[in-house]
Symmetry: C2
Subunit: 134 residues, 2 copies
């Protein structure tokens, strides 16, 4: 079912400093910051040769990543995102296996303008998993 690792998301307390760490210290290609108000984040994409790292800073008052940053003030890995071909088929198979889909169970349009779902960390070894229809 899962195909590629689409990205690893890292929540950061200072987007400028995190971008410099990846660009200047680790020597990676990075994008300009993009604010996505609908997702409550400002993101910088780190473009690796086979996948992406996303550096996420909370944006706005109801950012879904604020609580994580409050708990991890230095930042840290927030989730991994795996690609699937058909997100409805994937969701139905996951629910049938007993895995919990977060929210109302309907895919939302994610930061890449593609349908996404999040799965409960307790069902995936303490790891928040995003699925994105590729």
């Amino acid at each position: 079912m899962i195909g590629k690792l689409n990205h690893v998301a890292i929540v950061v307390p200072d987007l400028d400093a995190a971008t410099k760490t990846y660009r200047d210290v680790l020597g990676a290609k990075v994008s300009e910051p993009q604010t996505l108000p609908a997702h409550g984040v400002t993101v910088v994409f780190v473009l690796l040769d086979n996948t992406k790292v996303e550096l996420l800073l909370p944006y706005g008052e109801n950012s879904p990543i604020q609580a994580f940053l409050d708990k991890n003030p230095s930042g840290g890995i927030h989730h991994v995102c795996y690609e699937v071909k058909d997100i409805i088929a994937a969701r139905d198979k996951l629910k049938a296996s007993g895995a919990r889909v977060l929210g109302n169970g309907e895919p939302k349009i994610g930061a890449h303008d593609k349908p996404v779902l999040f799965l409960h960390p307790k069902d995936f070894i303490g790891t928040l998993v995003e699925l994105e229809q590729a």
Copy 2:
């Protein structure tokens, strides 16, 4: 400097259950478990289309991942591993920029029989980073 994401490492409390989650629930290809006494882990490789997830269970009395599991009994993401072409050049550049290399600063032979180094999470946004010479 960094090229591909070589793997995402997830520490797990039950390797059999974690393997079933990735194989049967997420539908991924998984390897047989391999015990690496020198690294204090038993590992199952999850083979994605563009990279790997490594499911790590502590092995032996001095496993370097036991403390993480004690702190995160449900498991969780432990580190990310980026590939570099020349690990000595990478280390020297990192040290010159003020980043801390863990241990004695000399590369060790990692789980894939290639030279690796670990970098201090405090210098990389709360994220433990492994570098592997590809």
